[in-house]
Amino acid sequence: MAQQRIVLRNCGVIDPMQISTYLDRDGFKALKKALAGVTQEQIIDEIKLSGLRGRGGAGFPCGLKWELAGKAQVDEKYVICNADEGEIGTFKDRYILERDPFTLIEAMAIAGYAIGAKRGYIYLRAEYHCLLDLLKNAIGQAKEGGFLDQFDIDIREGAGAYICGEESALMDSIEGKRGEVRYRPPFPPSRGLWGKPTIINNVETLMNIPQIIFNGGHWFSQLGTEQSKGTKVFSVSGDVKKPGVYELVLGSRLRELVEGLALAEKVKMVQVGGATGRIIPYEMIDMPLAFESILGAGAIIVFNETRDIIDIVYRVMEFLAEECCGKCTPCREGTEVMVEILERFSRGGGLETDISLLEEVASAMMLSSLCGLGQAAPIPVVNSLQYFRSVYENRIRQN
């Protein structure tokens, strides 16, 4: 399988400051098509038919989310675009926002029409403050062009917390509260922002919407694998010759991306999906990239033979412990315990009991944490124990 540009079709082609260049590329035609005689149910059906799943990491079926929110009989609903791209090693959303803000605006307007929302928010990561003017300009031009008559888009900036990329903490943050995870149910499509039905979609998920409406859900559903339709944008970084953003049809092999496109050599392991992503040893590099096997938010970090697995896992865990919101016990205390144990290993120490303690805490965290952060935080540890156990055992023996 190969590269195909659906999400990135306008990136580098249009001028992000000029709406006219976007209109020349069939811009806002999908929105016009949606508003002219297509019912809300038909749009949602089309999205469901396409098989589009959330690109933020969890992979929830997008059409289902919209349907749940669409069915709610409430006056006020919200559409939120999650542009809080905080995952270590992801920069795809930034790439998209910098080059093609108009498709996102169009997609949000379509989403608003489909679920019956009048208002949308773009939750922009604090570090992406530099994109604020560009986005405001794009929204302003879309308003002038009369494309946002029935739907208003506002930008909310984050304050630099990783956890605010998690949907419930993100909503708390928009509401002006401390960004902390809420328990679920209720899920956002039934009770979200200010208690109203809300859909929260990643930038990349929304970027697919205009193309699906324009070309039909059937067209989209023919790309990719059984359960993973369409394309995925990957941010490749680490020990590669050509780091950058690549869009591939889902189901493509990891090797194709890492060695074929990014030209990595002497790969030892690849972390797929960011800080809480799985660590794949080189022997498994022929894995397909899809929701069935491995995907995450699309961060691909490549490590070559000079890198030490324990250093990597330790640094990642330090990051997660720092970014934990502190609400639930397993994540707040568990990440700290893991940092403490991994720090010992990275200093060349390690006790006989440490491996079993790590495994015990990991399993409790995965089973009982309140949100995705705590549930996924032990994944790098578990993977490294699975594939590189001898490194840990050596450290213990040498101690």
């Binding site: 917390a161 956890i163 401390r178 902390e180 809420r182 328990y183 149910p185 412990a321 720092e322 970014e323 934990c324 919101c325 502190g326 609400k327 639930c328 016990t329 397993p330 707040r332 205390e333 568990g334 990440t335 700290e336 315990v337 403490e340 009991t353 303690l357 015990e360 805490v361 399993s363 409790a364 995965m366 089973l367 009982s368 944490s369 309140l370 549930q375």
Partner: protein, 225 residues
Amino acid sequence: MEQIALTINDRQLSASSGMTILEVAKENSIDIPALCYRQELSPIGACRICVVEVERSETLVGSCHTPIAQGMVIHTHSKKVLQVRKTMVELLLASHCGNCFMCDKANICELRSIATDLEVGLPRFQVKKRYYPVEDASPFIVRDLTKCILCRRCVSACNEIKKEKVFGIAYRGFDSKVVVDFDQPIDKDVCRDCDVCISFCPTGALSKHGEIGEEKKGEPLIISG
């Protein structure tokens, strides 16, 4: 009210919709331990000790905040659940100061009683302990955050029962802390003698100024194991 049929620990039960798993369990004399949950407060969902196994759910769910659904099959005391609960308590104890000998509330401490129930011994994790100065400037309340387990009951009790907002949470992760104002020691200006939060604190973190010779509450705890 619509009736919902569900199974808890192989018992067929029926309960009204809208109830949480914990409420149904309680109604049927099934004891699920919980630290942050109190009947008088809305669910907090922070301590994760009340987690139960729901069939077809990948993770365990918090029973205090999860509403029941038709045909749910729940296990409140399976091996998996008990193991997680034990680890939770052990994690809480690991960073807890552990000076039970010198704690006024040792005999009525909910953390200690749950630890005893679950047979959690000395914690095996060597994390740093949280030490904060005791805040005793106020004549009405003594706050010793060294003993706080961050269950947030005091925050909710103050908000929901007293309709005040004295407490809030500050900092992140392991450093998170229940604070007053911008992390000021509590004094008589912010808080009067309502005592609501004190009665909700499961540990010795919140207490009143004791008087010499005052009777101590509670039966002595017998620690097994």
